[in-house]
Amino acid sequence: MGRHIFFLGKGGVGKSTLSSALACKMQETKKILHISLDPAHNLGDIYGKRLSERKVSITANLQALEVDLSLWMDRYLQWSREELKRQYSYNVTINLDSFFNILKYSPGTEEYAVLWAIEQICKENEQVYDTLIFDTPPTALSLRFLSMPSLSMRWVSELRKMREKILAGRQTLLRINPESQSLRGTARKEDDQVYGKLAQIHYRLEYMYNLFKMKSYLVVVVNEDKLSLAESVRIKEELARLEIPLSAVCLNKTGCTDLDETTPQIKSAFPDIPVFSSEIVPGRINSINDLAGINLDDLLSDYLSGENI
């Protein structure tokens, strides 16, 4: 299993086009799964097939799927709702239904759904495919789901420490005054379900963090204009802050305008990252055959050279 490839960048720079061109190129020698995480799915349009949550074969070695985020969210909320109803012996003072309705719009919910979807897809398909290629949602959401593991890990470890203190307090109380009214639940770490759940969440977040940090090849797609350049610089800075390495920059649609003066700026904005460029395809990308016109050999050889290390 090679590293997972993630295509990032501003909307409309050609993430889907480049990722499908790369997928088409790679499927000649490898088994590829192409996943669209973008809520505004246009991967199906490029491949000329209707994609869904279930894998659809594009060629013998290439399959594609579209992640339906709201479906993942609903599935998750449904599970939680049932779990709550099963565990609680009476209806607690908060109104559960309205609570769940709010949760959909609660911060973190959407990126958690993406994270969860990536985790599931990776675990299910890692053994079957050589490479998974992800087409990401708009930058804001992508950065949020990329930063979620490291930020949440801090929260979870603080909560774990707090829980440890609670358990230690219970142990003390149990030794001195076993009949105390304040003793609720177990005092042992091994028996405490809350502690166990926190550890489990921490493990999952760590898995995702390591997946982004060590097992991924992140490509930022940029066009020859100031806005997409500014956005890709922001992506680079944000990734550096998260200590997730950016692997390559892909300059797409070169030669389409006379704005070529941004090209040197792009090279200087990413001094230590390889910059590859792909020229504009005459005409438009209408079918899978047109994708062959996009030259991504340099990007591919860079990806493959990292695999052998």
């Binding site: 998750y76 607690v92 973190g108 958690y112 929260w155 609670i166 109380l173 001195i176 304040s182 759940k197």
Partner: protein, 111 residues
Amino acid sequence: MRAFSLKGLKEEGISRMNILRILLEKIKRLLGIITAVHRGKATDIIAFELTERENIFMVLLLGSLIGLPSPPTIFALELLPLLEKEMEVMVARNDLSQDPLGALMGMLNID
């Protein structure tokens, strides 16, 4: 005659034993109550701290609902099914929040 007095003595002995046993029981119970009171007093602050910690744990977890910085609500949701007792604590503490100083003073025996 002799046999009778022996029997009487025996009975008397038994009842004395009984009285002793009952007395012992009572002393034991009294001691139990005394130690329980002392244990209770000794652990008052620990128990208060524990309850407060459980309350803070819940408030931290559900902070996003009242505008506090908190972990993503989704994690709270995953833990919530396991936190029924802590939820009770939080609700009880919430009622107490009308007079938190009074509660603290009461616990510390300050009048």
